[in-house]
Amino acid sequence: VGLAYLVTLLLMATLVADGITRALPIDWLTFRPWEAALQQVPPGAAFEPHREIDCPRCYGDLANMANLPRYRVYRHERFSTDARGYRNRADLIGDAPVRILLVGDSFVAGAGLTDADTLGAKLTARLGVGAYNTAPMVFGPTGYKSLARAFGATSGVVVVQHLGWAVTPAIGTDGDAPGPLPAVGAADRFRGSFRRDVFPLRILANQAVKSLQTGRLLRNPFADFATIDELANGQPMLFRSADVAVWGGARPPFDVWAGPRWRDNVAFYQWVQEQIAPAGLRLAVLLVPHKYTAYQPFLRATPAARREVDPYLPGLAAALRQAGLVAIDLSQPFYAAAERGLATGELVYWPDDTHWSPHGVDVAVAAIAETFAAHGLP
């Protein structure tokens, strides 16, 4: 048995293993279902349609991206998508007529949450009308109207989530929503693995290397992605370093950047409201604070002088309301829940994740329900 024979055997074995595993879903290799559901997305869809992913030991994106295994908070996550590639489970919406369309990013889509804990599922249970999750796809008013038509809704609410200091798209940004799509086959998955350059053996290899790069044996080159901090009650908490740099670091004078952004955001949402009004749809803007802004006042290391509430979202909410739009600002409810949590241990965001926790979704659902009741929606 010579070296040539052994190396050839090794190359052939890895080639075969590579080829076979490329045709398989990568559910078993990802730290959460999100990445697996994004591997084979047909044009126009948010996720791969007709998918059910079960992840018994998921953990947060910050613990993963910053390669901090010590800070993982393991949880069981089920992730289901419908025929359009959106995260909706038929049994959770049930027979309730769809009257709410949820638009947004990974928060509304439910990153880090099991199906039953997503905003759509909890809002449906709370209000008794179907809340259809279209996140994290960004299309536009045409898509909202065609989905409402597809559900036979002659009236309803489009809840658009707005995260922190996000900048809205340009006025006129529009697109349609996808119709029902077929399931993805093994051949599509195999072909797709070459286009995306993500495939099981690459993931396994990176995991093997990352397991050595935790700062003990080898330096952790990913550590800068997250900032490790501690709440006033001693609970450890990870934050996205980019958010810490914006809110916790030196900032330009508030009015210099906040004012123009408010104006642009309000103008965009006014335009959306005008577009969807003929279809009997009403826009409600859901303002969600970044994790760091919600928790910054309650961090152990934050000096008393810096324990300030981010005025950006309250300011945007006031400007939206002044323009006649419905705005649901989660800043105050989240600050209050975060403060209460110091005593109870309940958190509105996962400690190891950028996204809200099931408790955070409960707080959001309560705030939405209260605003809807006040406006007679949906």
Binding site: V1, L3, L6, V7, L10, L11, A205, N206, L218
Partner: protein, 462 residues
């Protein structure tokens, strides 16, 4: 395409290999190796294949001309024309912008700014290597050292052989001529274990040692933060070993790949960091280049035949041009001049060096080489001088983030480079246990390659 990439290992190499051994005739094998050479080259930038084809054709025709004209001006033209064309290509693609930059600088200095726009030319990868292949072929044909081939595909297969196409070794036609002539009689099994042994060792040198060192030192060199004296030395030692393991790794892989096709490529490194003086270093480092410079530049200039001063002049010219061959920047010129000066000093010292213990000479030579690499690695002169200042004068700075890991990597690399036999000194018929261990080493390389962070070889830029 990189040797340390998955498409090369899983697609290009197996297809090239299997088809090659299915073909029976010499001509078929020449054509196939030519074709695969162009495919290999085209993966980087197919547009530059035409330049290589042009250079090949001109030199081939010149070779035919030399077969026809045994003497006289026509024969001389067959020598001069292809060399001028090759050097013009090299000059244009590699040195045009360098020339323009310097013209601008001189014109500013003279108070008459020209402000010429740089041409922003993309350097065709490997042009420094294949033009040297064709030039050495032409000169050797003219000198009668080789008989020019009448077979276009034999010649194009020699120029575009993928194993040595983009980063050498610089193989002279005479070194490979016999194997090319016998290519249809090559036995697939004879050297297969040795071929994989060379390839595996080269792959491990590149992927496991050189790239690991690069990950530790590249961020430090890229940062403008001041370095403490010890850290500056550690980083430059890191680069010293990185360059050696990277380039000698590539050369080992090239030798292994050549053997897979029945072609024996020459040794390019002979434990250069064991050298006892600068002249010895150049007999061990990038041997294929240093011998080309010796045979086609230093000796034609007069070598050491016309007295001491002329010898020093010839050494300096050879090393300055050798430095410039590596890149169009003053740092490379200074690096060449530095080594030229070291060679002159070595020559001046003569027999007196023999009195110094071998270990001291080895250490001294190594440290001098390390200092030279500062100019070789630095992106510009100010960076090089800043680095040298940190190394040669007491300096303080922030401690290295990966100081301990770098130290560990240096120990491993140093032990291999200074105390162990080089790849050509090894017996390439590994026993089963060693074969299994080497396969494990290849598996480890594959693991790193599968992460998708393959880095190009350092000598690709030259």
């Amino acid at each position: 395409m990189l040797f340390n990439s998955l498409p090369f290992l899983y697609a290009f190499l197996p297809i090239t290999y299997v088809v090659f051994w299915q073909l029976r005739s010499r001509q078929q094998r020449y054509v196939w190796l030519t074709l695969t050479g162009y495919v290999f080259y085209g993966f980087w930038n197919y547009k530059f294949c035409a330049i290589m084809a042009g250079s090949t054709l001109v030199s081939y025709l010149a070779g035919l001309g030399m077969l026809r004209w045994r003497e006289g001006p026509a024969r001389r033209a067959c020598l001069v024309v292809p060399i001028v064309i090759d050097l013009a290509l090299l000059g244009f693609f590699k040195y045009a912008d360098f020339g323009i930059d310097n013209l601008n600088a001189v014109s500013v200095w003279l108070g008459r700014p020209l402000a010429l726009d740089p041409l922003r030319i993309v350097l065709p990868i490997g042009i420094s290597f294949y033009t040297f292949h064709t030039i050495t072929y032409i000169v050797d044909s003219y000198r009668g050292v080789v008989t020019p081939t009448r077979n276009l595909f034999e010649f194009s297969c020699y120029v575009s052989l993928f194993a040595q196409l983009v980063a050498g070794p610089i193989v002279r036609f005479r070194q490979i001529e016999r194997d090319l002539d016998d290519i249809d009689h090559a036995d697939r099994r004879v050297d297969l274990d040795a071929a994989w042994s060379f390839f595996a060792i080269g792959l491990a040198k590149k992927v496991l040692v050189a790239d690991s060192l690069a990950r530790l030192i590249d961020p430090v060199i890229a940062s403008a933060e001041p370095l403490a004296t010890l850290d500056a030395w550690l980083v430059m030692l890191g680069y010293t070993y990185q360059l050696y393991f990277d380039f000698s790794g590539y050369s080992d892989m090239a030798v292994g790949l050549g053997l897979m096709f029945g072609l024996r490529l020459p040794q390019n490194f002979n434990s250069p960091y064991k050298a006892v003086d600068p002249a010895d270093f150049w007999r061990r480092w990038h041997i294929s280049l240093s011998t080309v410079l010796r045979d086609y530049l230093y000796i034609p200039l007069g070598g050491s035949r016309f007295g001491t001063l002329a010898t020093y002049r010839n050494l300096m010219i050879t090393m300055l041009l050798g430095g410039l061959w590596h890149g169009a920047a003053w740092t490379f010129v200074i690096w060449g001049a530095y080594h030229g000066a070291l060679l002159c000093l070595t020559r001046a010292a003569g027999q007196r060096l023999e009195a110094v213990p071998v270990l001291a000479r080895q250490v001294g030579t190594f440290l001098l080489v390390v200092i030279g690499w500062v100019f070789f690695r630095a992106p510009d002169l100010p960076t090089a001088l800043r680095f040298l200042r940190s190394m040669l004068t007491p300096a303080s700075g922030e401690p290295l983030a990966d100081g301990l890991a770098l130290l560990a990597a240096l120990v491993v690399a140093g032990v291999i480079a200074h105390t162990m036999p080089n790849t050509f000194e090894l017996r390439h018929r590994p026993r089963p246990a060693l074969a299994v261990a080497m396969t494990g080493m290849v598996a480890l390389c594959l693991l790193v390659m599968y992460t998708g962070n393959a880095t190009p070889f350092l000598y690709f830029q030259f």
